[in-house]
């Protein structure tokens, strides 16, 4: 399997080149186009709260359609092109055995079945920041396709940093995090427009996105016609 990414940083497209009989699992809604002889089946492909209902719970909680489609190439191999919903970049992280990658739910696009995704795992604190964030834990090995709203910035952390929660794409284990208000008081936090931030500390790698989906959603959403509740 080989994943080719074009049109970064604004309108990325990832084309997965599948060898004969190879498969890849991808987020529902990410398929742009594909060659002949690729069969598609639905899978809830993640552990914990598993199966259809686990996916349903995740979708309801996170506003995220965490169902996956499994694209399997036939005897001739094939190509599937994938893209996320928002403008931005994509990047592949080669996950190695023994490594753990924590991915913000809407930043995950695709990975082969040799990568296991966990939606409920030890140590995950509830993120009630109003941004409906949830994280996936990826373990196993293989290429993990991530998307970012905007450009992706990869940063090595060795110390402490304050990060806006909406700009976080993924991070490796070895990093501790705690949620806090942006400013000292509640009114100050509200007026500053910054909301909640994450204090991250430790040693590891962080991936950030240069735009914040909730901020974009809020800015455009209030200009759109109202909806039925």
């Amino acid at each position: 399997m080989h994943i080719e990414i074009q049109y970064n940083p604004a309108h990325s497209l990832a084309t997965v080149h599948l060898a004969p009989h190879e498969s890849i699992r991808a987020e529902a809604g990410s398929m742009v186009s594909m060659t002949d002889n690729i069969s598609v089946t639905t899978t809830a492909g993640h552990r914990s709260g598993g199966g259809f209902f686990g996916g349903l719970k995740r979708a309801a909680l996170g506003g995220e359609s965490f169902f996956q489609n499994l694209f399997s190439a036939g005897a001739m191999g094939g190509k599937v092109s994938l893209a996320p919903s928002l403008a931005g970049s994509m990047v592949v992280h080669e996950l190695r055995l023994g490594e753990e990658l924590f991915i913000q739910g809407s930043s995950y696009v695709a990975a082969p079945e040799s990568v296991t995704l966990d939606t409920q795992f030890q140590g995950m604190k509830g993120f009630l920041s109003g941004e409906s964030l949830f994280f996936l834990k990826a373990t196993g090995q293989g290429p993990v396709l991530l998307n970012a709203f905007g450009a992706i910035e990869k940063r090595e952390l060795n110390g402490e940093l304050i990060v806006d929660t909406g700009h976080l794409v993924a991070f490796t284990s070895g990093i501790e995090y705690s949620l806090s208000k942006a400013a000292k008081g509640w009114i100050q936090s509200f007026l500053s427009g910054e909301g909640f931030v994450l204090k991250v500390r430790g040693r590891g790698t962080l991936w950030l996105q240069s735009r914040n989906p909730s901020e974009f959603g809020g800015t455009v959403g209030r200009m759109l016609p109202a909806r039925e509740g």
């Binding site: 905007g150 402490e160 700009h167 500053s192 427009g193 240069s210 735009r211 914040n212 759109l224």
Partner: protein, 201 residues
């Protein structure tokens, strides 16, 4: 704010202009609160200080570019209020309105008149094109990022009231004189116009 070093201090202030008198501050506060609750650009700014140095990474809400402009105390730059990202030094940004229905966002032009010395960062929705004008030039108000203070400008509808509602062009700003206008290649109203018919109820 995207990320910052932990030692940075942040405080929130009303963007009323540095030498604003009492009534100007009250007016600015009421306008700012109204805009915060009814939608529209907030007029609160965050001031970040780093007594021992530090790092601050900022990003705007919409996809597009960031342009850095240096103000030398002589020039005035009018910046569309949604395009103001940050400034350093001694830059004063006064709120100015131009045109119809500007108070609560939407049509019209909510501008920040920037003067003083320092660096100014402005962001665009889409890419930025600098257009030097010598004479007259018309720009759709939603596509204005910034323009030099020596230009005359007037907000009007494209071609009479019928055109305003039918043509989809909305309001335009007619510039006169010599100077540079910075336009952005995308417009939030147009995005809304494109997407609205495709939304479920």
């Amino acid at each position: 704010m995207v990320l910052q070093s932990p030692e940075l201090e942040m405080s929130t202030h009303l963007n009323a202009g540095r030498r604003a008198g009492f009534w100007a501050v009250i007016t600015a506060l009421l306008v700012a609160l109204a805009r915060k609750f009814l939608g529209g650009e907030t007029m609160f700014v965050n001031r970040f200080r780093a007594p021992r140095g530090g790092e601050l990474v900022l990003a705007p809400s919409l996809s597009g570019n960031i342009v850095q402009k240096k103000l030398d105390g002589q020039k005035r730059l009018f910046v569309q209020s949604g395009s103001y990202l940050a400034s350093t030094g001694d830059i004063d940004a006064k709120v100015r309105f131009g045109g119809l229905r500007t108070l609560f966002g939407g049509e019209g032009l909510a501008l920040l008149e920037c003067t003083g010395t320092g660096e100014l960062w402005i962001n665009s929705y889409g890419s930025v094109l600098a257009i030097p004008i010598n004479g007259a030039f018309t720009v759709d108000t939603g596509h204005i990022v910034a323009f030099e203070g020596n230009l005359d400008f007037r907000v009007k509808s494209v071609g009479g009231m019928k055109s305003l509602f039918l043509s989809g062009e909305g309001l335009v700003c007619e510039f006169q004189g010599s100077g540079t206008v910075y336009i952005q290649s995308r417009n939030l109203s147009s995005l809304v116009h494109w997407l609205s018919p495709l939304l479920p109820s």
